[in-house]
C-alpha cells in the first residue's frame, strides 16, 4: 500500500501547501488594497490594482501560450 500512500500523501501535502500559500498571498494583497483605500493612499491603491491587473493578464497569457505550444 505504501507505493501509493506515501508518494500520494507527500504530493497532496505539497499541493495543499501551495494552495494555502497562494491564498495567503491573495489575502495579503487584499489587505494592502483596503488599507491603502482607507488611509487615502490612492497612488499605492492604484498601483496595487494596476499590478493585480497586470498579473491577471500575464497569468491568462501564459495559459494561452502553454496551450498554443501544446504543453497543456
Amino acid at each position: 500500500m505504501d507505493e501509493l500512500i506515501l508518494p500520494g500523501t507527500v504530493s497532496l501535502i505539497i499541493l495543499y501547501a501551495g494552495i494555502a500559500l497562494v491564498m495567503y498571498g491573495i489575502l495579503r494583497v487584499l489587505i494592502w488594497v483596503i488599507e491603502a483605500a482607507l488611509f487615502g493612499n490612492y497612488l499605492i491603491f492604484c498601483g496595487i490594482l494596476t499590478g493585480i491587473a497586470g498579473i491577471v493578464i500575464a497569468y491568462i497569457l501564459i495559459g494561452l501560450w502553454l496551450r498554443r505550444i501544446e504543453i497543456i
Binding site: 501509493l4 500512500i5 500520494g8 504530493s11 497532496l12 491568462i60 495559459g63 496551450r67 497543456i72
Partner: protein, 362 residues
Amino acid sequence: MAHVLVSPLNWGLGHAMRDIPVIRTLHAHGHEVTIAACGNALAVLRQEFPDAPTIEYPDYPVPFSSGHLFVPRFCACLPFMLKAVAREHATLDAILAKDHYDLVISDNRLGVFSSQVPSIFISHQLHYHLPLLYWPAEILAIPANMFLHEQYNRIIVPDNPPGPLSLAGKLSRPQTDVARDRVFFSGILSGTSQMACTQDLDYLVIISGPEPQRTILEKIILARIGELNGSGVVLLGNPQGSKAAFRRGDWTCIPYVPTEVKAELMNRAKCVICRSGYTTLMELAELGKTRALLIPTPGQTEQEYLSWYYREKGWFHSEAQDKLDLIDDVAATRNYPGFPAMSKTAENTHQLYEELLAGYLE
C-alpha cells in the same frame, strides 16, 4: 490458455462497454477472463458474458458532481480518492493471491496494478483538460499522471494515434517519456456494432449524465421535440423513474432500455442527439453516423473539450446545454459530415491482440 483479470471502472457504463470487444477477443483466442467490477458495469458484463467468472470488486464513487467549482471540489476530494485507490490496490493483492493470473487489465481503475503480474491500463485520457484559469492544475496533473502510468507495463489508448484522425485530441496525447514508452493506440473500441437494419428513425435522443443536469436536459428536450419534423425516440436514461414508456406526438419516450436495445436504436437513427462522452463518440464512429448533435454535461471538462474539438474539426455540431436551441441546432447538424473514415473495432481488436496482448499471453 492464459487467465486474464479485466477490471473496468464503474463511473457510467462507458468503461465496461469498451472492454466488451477486448474480452470477446481474449475469449476468441481461448483465454479465460475473470471480470472484476461492481454496480452497473458488472451487471452489463455479466449479461454480455454469462459464462465468464466474475468478482464483485468495489471501486469508488465519482468524487464530484458536475456543475461549477469542479476543480476546487475535486481538490478537496483528493485525500479520499487516494485512500480509496490504496484500498482498491490492497484488494487486488487479495484477489491475485486466490488464483493464478497471467495479465491484469485495468480500465481507468488507478489502483488495479500489480508488481507480480503484468498490468495494462486502458484510458483515453493521458492528459487532463481543465478550464484555462486552472492551467497550473493541468500542469500539476502531468507528473501525477506520469506516476500512475509508471505502475503499468503498457497503456492501451482506445483512439487513433495523435494526428488528423485522433478522436480524443489533446486528451490522448502522451506528454511524458513514461507514457510514450508504454502507449499503444488501439483505434476505437466499441461494444456497439453495426446491425443490418434500415434507418427508419429520424432522431434518437439519448439523455444521460449525473443529476441534476440529466433532468435539466430532459426538460429542455421534451419541451421542444414536438417542433422537430419527423419521429423519434427519447431515451430518458432514468432507470429509477417510471418504467412505462409514453408517447408525445410522433415521439416515444422511454425511461430506460437495456444496452442491446439502445444499440439497435442507434443503428436505426438518422440523427443522434446525445452527450459527448467518449464511449458514445466511439459508438458514433463505429456505426458511421454522419449526423449528431453533441450536448456536453455542464462542468464535465472532458465532454466540453470534446464537443469544442469536434466542432473545430468540423466533424459534429455541438452546443452548450444552456444555449441549446433544439430546432436551430438540429438543423445545423446537416452542415457537418461526421467522422472521417477510420478502422473499426473488429480490425482494431485483432491488431491489439496480435501486437500487444499476445506478447503477454502466448
